[in-house]
């Protein structure tokens, strides 16, 4: 059985390596992926069309906004699935949120706790910066959301899980994750209500103040701001689900004890 698997894997690898000889060389500017009109359009037109210098953000949240909306839904669904598989959280069970008897928070290492106390606000501020500055530098909702979720996880590791869960209750994890999807889909629906297509943020220009003469037109700025709104929605969902995955997996769904 194992020999058979090894042969199958070797055959797949050999076929792929055989096909690789037709692939473009490393750094080839004329590779089919780079020569295609769509990627040229993204590189040359994303700045004039959306006023967002970071093309990755522009493609992610605007040109391929529909795709990203459902990526967010996938993450939300994964979080819900984990909660469903590992047992329903006893939302009203106060006892489950009490600190562990064997290790009171005071028993934990003072150095670890105080270091995290200094580190976590900086992490969270950096996460917010990554989300809000994703238009101009590497970053965006997914990256910032993961950093934000990591800061909650760090707190849960440094103290214990019940302490962290008193700050962010299990019910609130689901609420925040759903809120992110609602923000994203709601922005899209708002565009629909403005007689534009779904997620066509330029329709939101009516909410912006009148443009200054010579500045970027409002239709274009609206696309930039619309991206920021949906990135915030993505960050909500991703950070809540990252923390939710940690809390449920580290306790096998009991939400007690943990690491």
């Amino acid at each position: 059985m194992k020999g058979l698997a090894f042969i199958a894997v070797l055959a797949t690898g050999a076929l792929l390596l055989f096909a690789a000889s037709d692939f473009p060389a490393w750094g080839d500017k004329d590779s089919p992926a780079s020569r295609h009109e769509i990627s040229r359009h993204y590189i040359t037109q994303s700045m004039p069309e959306t006023s967002v210098p970071n093309m990755v953000t522009a493609v992610l949240a605007d040109y391929r906004g529909y795709d990203t909306m459902f990526e967010t839904v996938v993450i939300f669904t994964a979080g819900i699935a984990i909660i469903g598989i590992l047992g329903v959280a006893r939302f009203t069970d106060r006892e489950s949120l009490e600190p562990r008897a064997e290790t009171e928070p005071g028993d934990r290492d003072m150095i670890v706790i105080n270091t995290c106390r200094l580190l976590i606000p900086i992490m969270q501020m950096f996460a917010l910066y990554v989300v809000a500055h994703g238009h101009h530098s590497p970053g965006g909702g997914f990256q910032g959301g993961v950093i934000l979720g990591a800061s909650f996880i760090l707190w849960a590791i440094a103290r214990d899980l019940p302490t962290a869960l008193r700050g962010i209750k299990p019910r609130r994890i689901v609420f925040l994750a759903a809120l992110g999807v609602v923000i994203y889909a709601g922005t899209g629906a708002l565009c629909l209500a403005m007689d534009a297509r779904l997620l066509d943020y330029s329709a939101l220009h009516v909410f912006l103040p009148p443009e200054a003469p010579g500045a970027v037109p409002n239709e274009i700025m609206a696309r930039s701001h619309g991206m920021l709104i949906v990135e915030v929605g993505v960050a909500f969902t991703v950070s809540a689900i990252m923390f939710g995955i940690y809390t449920y997996l580290s306790t096998m769904g009991r939400l007690k004890g943990g690491l």
Partner: protein, 153 residues
Amino acid sequence: MDFLHDILIARLNYWIYVILMMIGLHAMIAKNNLIKKLIGMSIFQTAIILFFVSVGVKDGGTIPIVSHHGHDDAHAETAHADDAGEAAGHVDGHGEIDPDAHDNPLPHVLMLTAIVVGVATLGVGLAVSQKIYREYGTLEENELLEKIRSTDG
């Protein structure tokens, strides 16, 4: 020698992805332990992510972010043109963005979401394995099949 150069040297990156992918695939097929299968799935995903990102690389290209200083008025544009040589020619004399100076953004976008979705699917996989462990007390596939057969029979 030419053959070796074409296949091995010029496309060494593809060798790395294919070998990583083979490691992952073998772990998913041949390993008995469910956690090891999940580790294999993650290695497989890493290979695909590296492959996609490498497709977007261009010689002399930089990250797909337009070099800009504040808001682009006419003054800023001329400043751009002056330091164009030093800044690898992001913006040429006419303020046009040179497609060859930036990496392809599309693979980056696809992999950005794939990484986060990969984490989410891995989480679901681990949750299912934890549930299986709670029900059957083992994560070894052969022991699992035996226990399922004995409870069925």
